[in-house]
Symmetry: C2
DNA sequence: TCCATTTGTTAAAACGTTTGCACGACTGAT
DNA sequence: ATCAGTCGTGCAAACGTTTTAACAAATGGA
């Protein structure tokens, strides 16, 4: 019923092979034949059957995104949506389709990816974030599949990855507060099994150390990427006898929780507490007060991940491409951190 | 190199057909053979080639989401992410994969969908929102493809769709303000070419009419689903000689713009202006003050869309399933609208 | 005991492409 | 005129499945 390459061939009076060659711009096809076949193709409304093509070429021209089970909890939705936009845009530009896979738990995640990869439905996988020990990474790595990690893996430092320099970014954020005269600076971290939490904590520690500032364990709290975490952290900090005057936070959403709590308790930002956080989601510009935040180039992360993955697929890994791409970050200074501490 | 059905067959000492039948639980396969073949399958690590399967079965077990060009502008990111989660979850439960398609403009959108549908890569399409005249809908409808619209089409009232009763929802929101004694109620709408804008405007008008309240053209403004729109609407309203005391807004993000503007101008919410909006994104609970909002069940919209589409694909449309599914909404009353007007 | 049915399996065709090989028709240098 | 090379095209095999038709063996009712 659907029009196939044979229908086109018959009507054009050529062989199916010729039609196929027209399709792929084979050099040894005469301009005349090419034009004639092409005419017939859109006259009949021909569309190549992608499945048949994949079957013989052993390549699917599609990649998949593994959406972690807890996408709704980790980071903000903006983060994922923006990442997906970047991925889809570049993939589509390079002629690749994007599939979304997910799973309710790690086992399902591996099964899903395995089905797609082993079933030859996708050529490669993009992993959206990096847990400390990720069975999906194990699976992909051990079986030699193409994949790229958005983030960093401690276990496999040599896999393809796209990441920010989170240590440096956090260093910058902390130094920004230091430069304003803050000497008591706290840190609100994320789940400890995420590499990004470790890196950002490290940058904070480095900055304190380089600035000759005191590091106090009670000024460091862990949480989730949720407003509640920020809220809790805030009330913890504000009840401390010797509380910090500045805070670096792992994610904007967490900061919103802090902001909300401070507002409820009638504290003033930035006068009572200066805030700097990460990710620079659009709402951080619109909170009261607007939030200083590190822009990590989310779209760019996704875009580059597509780029790198597809490059790797097409060159079958033997490219001289950088194994690890670093997307630049940039501190956006806004009102929430615009308050200098005068040294006494 | 990859293990195929033939490898399994050879090792098990049966024919490929038998292996295939084991795979599909054919009734006329002996329990013994079945077990033996299954053993060999996971001994060899066999995974069926989905492409080959699709080629002969003429069905792909995947659907695609058409992500509109302006996903980043329309509605909030939360909206899309939540929709996608709902879609992917239910699709995966029903054994379907989900592809994301997008395009920089309407022409590219049609091309993308056409390539996927005509190239037999997907069995159906989910459209994420409804413009007044959408060439993608025309294409899918005219060629008899399976698709479901999240939203409503005025042009094709009989297509499969999943939607809220936006007229009623907006009616409820407006009536809520009326019940608090408000008599001067404004409305901030979205782009006029979106059906959802029309419906919500209609509900607002109906409610005013049923309550015997005055409708003033200057109390209705159009905008985008952006904070800026809310900001602009706010300053327009507040400069009116006879300004409204309550506002119904098409989207939470717009409300944030309004909130921000009011805060800058030192107006108080809800005392100076009561606000009710739509979509109930998580942040609306966390704004200052928390925002009254209509929860439209976004996840449910996506979930149901998958359900309906796949049902339609599998029954080839001749099901007795409702053509149009309505997802219930619910007004979440919060501080932004908790202020009664005493009639003078 | 015989025929009809059921049961378990196989051979082969089909799905719609791509591609290596072959081959005839030119071209142009000898 | 011959030969080597190039050009344009076709044949047929291959990709990994599913499925129809066929068939041998087992079963069982008369």
């Amino acid at each position: 019923m659907a029009v196939t390459i044979k229908d086109v061939a018959k009507k054009a009076g050529v062989s199916p092979s010729t039609v196929s060659r027209v399709l792929s711009n084979h050099p040894r096809i005469s301009a005349e034949t090419s034009r004639k076949v092409k005419d017939i193709m859109d006259q009949l409304g021909y569309h190549p059957n992608i499945m048949a093509k994949s079957l013989v070429s052993k390549t699917t021209n599609s990649i998949c995104i593994m959406l972690p089970k807890s996408a709704e909890e980790l980071f903000s939705n903006f983060f994922f949506m923006e990442l997906i936009r970047g991925i889809v845009t570049q993939a589509s530009r390079l002629g690749y389709d994007v599939l979304i896979s997910s799973g309710a738990n790690e086992k399902e995640e591996v099964e899903g990816v395995s089905r797609l990869i082993n079933g030859r439905r996708v050529d490669g996988v993009i992993l959206l974030y990096s847990r400390q020990d990720d069975p999906v990474i194990d699976f992909l790595h051990d079986n030699g599949h193409h994949f790229v990690l958005i983030g960093r893996s401690e276990q496999y430092p040599d896999i393809l990855s796209v990441d920010n320099d989170n240590v440096q970014a956090s260093y910058d954020a902390t130094k920004h507060l230091v430069s304003l005269g803050h000497e008591r600076i706290g840190f609100v971290s994320g789940p400890p099994d995420l590499v990004v939490s470790k890196d950002r904590l490290q940058g904070y520690l480095d900055a304190l150390h380089d600035s000759g500032l005191e590091m106090r364990p009670e000024w460091i709290v862990e949480g989730e990427f949720l407003q509640e975490s920020g809220y809790r952290a805030m009330s913890f900090f504000m009840n401390l006898p010797d509380r910090p005057t500045g805070l670096v936070m792992i994610d904007d959403v967490v900061s919103f929780g802090v902001l909300r709590g401070l507002h409820e308790l009638k504290y003033k930002v930035p006068e009572d507490l200066c805030l700097v956080s990460f990710n620079n989601i659009p709402l951080s510009e619109l909170s009261t007060p607007p939030l200083s935040s590190i822009d990590i180039g989310i779209y760019n992360l996704g875009y580059t991940a597509s780029q790198v993955l597809i490059q790797s697929i097409q060159n079958n890994n033997d490219s001289s491409y950088q194994r690890r791409q670093i997307i630049p970050h940039r501190l956006m200074v806004r009102e929430s951190s615009m308050y200098s501490i005068s040294k006494k």
